[in-house]
Amino acid sequence: MSAPAEVFAALGDETRLALVDRLAREGPASITRLSAGATVSRQAITKHLQVLAQAGLVRDRRQGRERIWQLEARGLQEARRFLEHVSRGWDRALERLRRLVE
C-alpha cells in the first residue's frame, strides 16, 4: 500500500482527479479513450496515469496491442472475488474428502 502522502499528492491535481473519476464511472479504458475529448495531450495523460500508478491508485494491463488502465480499487474487489472463488473450491473439495473417509 502506498503512503497516504503519496496518494494525496497524486490526487492533488485536477487532471488526475478527473482521470480517477472517469475510471470509476466508466470502468477500464485505454489511453486513446481517456485522451478523447481531453484538453491535455495524450502524452500528458500518460504521465498522469504513471503518477497515479506509482501511488497505487490505478494499474494497467495489456489487452492485444493496447494498454488498458483501471482503478486499483477494482483490483482489490477482484482480489476478494478471487479469494471467494478459491474458498468455494476448497469447500467442495473438503466435502469430497468427507465422503471419502467417513
Partner: protein
C-alpha cells in the same frame, strides 16, 4: 478480512490414520482433490503433477511441491492455485502454501486447512483466472445448448 489467506476447519468422523492416508497417498489425494497425480511418494521436496479431473478444468495440469510431512500431524505443499490459462508460464510467479494440520478429537479428526500467500499473486492473474472460469461456464452453456438443439 484478510485477502492473503483462506482458513477452513472440519471435523471428520474418521480416525486420524485414515484422514492422513487420504491426504498423503497419491491415489487417495487425487480422488477427493480432483487430480490424477503421477505416481510418487509425498516426501519433502517432491514435485508432483497431473491433470485436473474436475469438470471444466481438464486442460489444466496441477503441479505441487511438497514442503512438510509430519506423519499424522502436518502436511503442506506449494502450488499455483487456478493456474488455468494454458498459454501462461506460471513458474516465475509466487506460489501459495497449503497446510493441513490434523488433531484427534472425540468425534474423530479435526482437520484444519490454511492456504496463504494470495497477496503476492499479481492482480492481473486473479482477474484472468476469474475470466477463464466465467468462460468455462459459457463454454459449458454453449455445449448444453448445442446438445439440446441437436435433439
Amino acid at each position: 478480512m484478510s485477502t492473503d489467506r483462506i482458513e477452513k476447519e472440519i471435523v471428520l468422523k474418521a480416525p486420524r490414520t485414515r484422514v492422513w492416508r487420504a491426504l498423503t497417498e497419491g491415489g487417495e489425494f487425487g480422488a477427493w482433490f480432483g487430480v490424477k497425480l503421477e505416481p510418487g511418494p509425498f516426501r519433502p521436496g517432491a514435485h508432483l503433477r497431473g491433470p485436473i479431473t474436475s469438470q471444466g478444468y481438464e486442460h489444466v495440469t496441477m503441479e505441487m511441491t511438497v514442503e512438510r510431512v509430519e506423519p499424522e500431524r502436518l502436511f503442506s505443499y506449494r502450488w499455483h492455485p487456478y493456474a488455468v490459462d494454458p498459454e501462461v508460464d506460471y513458474s516465475s510467479e509466487p506460489t501459495t502454501l497449503v497446510e493441513f494440520t490434523l488433531e484427534e478429537v472425540a468425534e474423530g479428526t479435526r482437520l484444519r486447512v490454511v492456504e496463504s500467500g494470495f497477496d503476492a499473486i499479481p492482480a492481473e492473474r486473479k482477474i484472468r483466472a476469474l475470466e477463464m472460469n466465467t468462460r468455462g461456464w459459457e463454454m459449458q452453456m454453449a455445449n448444453i445448448e448445442r446438445h439440446v438443439g441437436a435433439g
